[in-house]
Symmetry: C2
């Protein structure tokens, strides 16, 4: 009977898939910065203005010449003459000269002549136009100098970064109101199987509703792609060939959830192989669930054949589809992936040499967390709906004992 000739470790399979890609698409589009949340920068962004744009204080107090406060203390205060109050949002119309001070509020512009700010609580008004200063300040104390945060010409956000609220705020502060970003990759999704019907239909005996199209589309959207539904097709090589050719013409990547029987998997691989060079790179990954995964590149476009089993399909999507969509979206400087440390609640066994992913529920336990494996039969659909995340059993382990620490990889919310 047909079986997988060679099962490849997941990390090697992923590497092989990436290596076979051609040159990445370098096109870009321009968007208003305020609408660019989660988009990926297409080029390094360079500051055209300094930040702050003027010498500014970050406290409430008095702008002074630092040298004037030399030696000031509680017992021997320095007396300075008040020459004015700095207006917010405007340049002061006066200077601070020897022996003088000006009232200034957080964010206010330092008057000419001043080079430091004494905090309000370290002063006291002694007369109408005079303060006592109880503490000496150094040059630049409580002041942000012009360009100290960002200098003109400084690269503020590199190419290949997904924009968070933090970056968007920074760009707007510099007056960068438009930004060049990479187009969203289009990801075609084909669902196959004689038994598969749309979710709003009522299944007859032997039929099941298509859910992979929707779970995969949601995931593609979350990780930075535009999903394109290409419908449900029967288990037919001819129809798959026609649909896949159409999908490749109109998308940057194609996902196929294949029927799960061995014969369907086999013709899926043959059809993909005919679609372009170099064709099928991996047929069978040493992983559970998800062994029958097919990875291919057809004339520069990645294609993945995924198990029809919804749990397997989602696990494979997290491990293979997500990094590929992120790469196609232009992401080059990814951030470390947060996880959660927990203690395993029961022993779990695993076959040595294979990488296992086990869905777990995470439960608060004292100061930490317990990870409780969800045991399930293959093809159970509600398994992942009750899981908070996945734990990985490395290929060199034959299992993990209760009480051992595990890292929980979260299913994306």
């Amino acid at each position: 009977m047909p079986e997988f000739i060679q099962l490849i470790p997941p990390q090697d399979a992923l590497a092989r898939w990436f290596e076979a890609l051609g040159l990445p698409d370098l096109s870009h589009e321009e968007l208003e910065t305020i609408h660019s949340l989660n988009r990926v920068t297409a080029e390094d962004v360079i500051a055209q203005e300094p930040l702050p744009a003027f010498h500014r204080t970050n406290v409430d107090g008095y702008a002074v010449r630092a040298a004037d406060t030399h030696g000031a203390s509680e017992s021997l205060p320095v007396y300075l003459r008040i020459v004015g109050e700095v207006p917010m949002g405007d340049a002061p119309r006066f200077q601070v000269s020897l022996g003088e001070a000006a009232l200034i509020h957080t964010g206010g512009m330092l008057p000419e002549g001043a080079d430091a700010v004494v905090m309000l609580e370290q002063t006291q008004t002694s007369r109408m136009d005079e303060i006592e200063v109880y503490k000496a300040v150094g040059h630049g104390e409580n002041v942000l100098f012009k360009g100290e945060d960002v200098e003109v010409g400084q690269m503020v956000v590199p190419a290949g970064v997904r924009l968070r609220p933090e970056e968007i705020g920074g760009l707007l502060a510099l007056g960068i109101t438009r930004v060049k970003i990479r187009p969203l990759p289009r990801v075609g999704i084909i669902s196959s199987g004689d038994e598969v019907i749309p979710p709003h239909h009522v299944p007859k005996p032997g039929q099941v509703r298509d859910i992979n199209s929707y779970t995969l589309a949601s995931l593609v959207e979350k990780v930075g792609g535009t999903p394109q539904f290409l419908g449900i097709i029967p288990d037919s090589p001819d129809i798959l060939e026609e649909r896949l050719a159409y999908a490749l013409r109109n998308n940057d990547m194609v996902l196929i959830t294949a029927g799960s029987s061995a014969s369907t998997r086999d013709f899926t691989a043959s059809v993909i192989a005919r679609m372009g060079k170099p064709g099928v790179l991996v047929h069978g990954v040493n992983i559970k669930p998800g062994k029958p995964t097919i990875l291919a590149v057809c004339d520069g476009k990645p294609v993945i054949g995924m198990p029809g089993n919804p749990v397997s399909a989602l696990v494979i999507a997290h491990l293979f589809v997500q990094p590929m969509v992120e790469f196609l979206s232009g992401l080059r400087l990814g951030r470390p992936v947060p996880s959660l440390s927990a203690r395993l609640s029961v022993n779990i066994a695993s076959q040595a040499g294979r990488e296992d992913y086990i869905p777990v529920r995470v439960i608060r336990e004292g100061n930490g967390y317990a990870a409780e494996p969800i045991f399930y039969k293959s093809n159970f659909i509600f398994t992942l709906a009750s899981a908070d995340g996945l734990i990985r059993i490395p290929p060199d382990a034959t299992g993990i004992s209760a009480g051992e620490p595990v890292e929980v990889l979260f299913l994306r919310n």
Copy 2:
């Protein structure tokens, strides 16, 4: 000079804010399930159908009566007569009787009479219409019985859960194509300060661009609310009062980024206090950055006065705005928050009794990660744009030493 009368620990401040809320809004809307990603369920969802809907196999093999395979082994196989092949997506038109077997593919419907499936690799075709079975199977082996995943009447998704691709898939599998979800809370955002101008304007000396409105709006959107921009207002109690009254009429919650000077903060608190009962609950939190935070509830609606400093505003938004928006969005069963364990790269000092949040960069180091604190002056805008996350120094610590483990809370992507 006016200072904070009592600084409250952040956890207590948050608890006080939540306690002062009245009864939560219980309204709901109905959406197509495929469009409900990230929305929060308004009621428990109950299965009206079983899953699977029929006895199904999860392997390729032969449907048999388990009793017939009793004692089968490599050396002493059992012989069974093939009576047919189960079609995919349809009910088999035959039964399996004593001494019989039927070819069946993964996902196929078990024929009447059969109660188990022998895997293909544990059989061999001996004659045209006969197989040898090399391994005994028990009742139900390789079979998912009708209703074994989900039973009719079972609660499949509880109220108060944010829907992930996993839940959406599960609902669709059950034919639940519409779902009752909670409306998105509307969150009004007021930015104040005489020196603040819109980001597309060119600042004159002393002016700075408004960025808090946009960073906060992005965050509100990510955590499940609908932001409403209410513009930039000058440092005037009268204008704030009028704008806040308008904001409260049209929103479920209001954020104000107040000017950062002591006088502005004071009138902000007095204006909020006049807007409804119980009014200001917290004025000053024992945290850095973010000390001047004001928490209030005005006639059932939460109001927060946040520091104008963009770094402080975002830290406070992560700690206070996010949980409140999530609560107003109906979220009741939150998932544990993933973080990342790292080793601190340098010593950092902290004032005992105060909770400190320090932005860090996370760097791969051997098998683990190093967290490198980003030291910054107050009012530096690009601090968070270069940070991967925040680390917390608990109030009972006077700092953390280099090499100690820390948990990095990620800034939401």
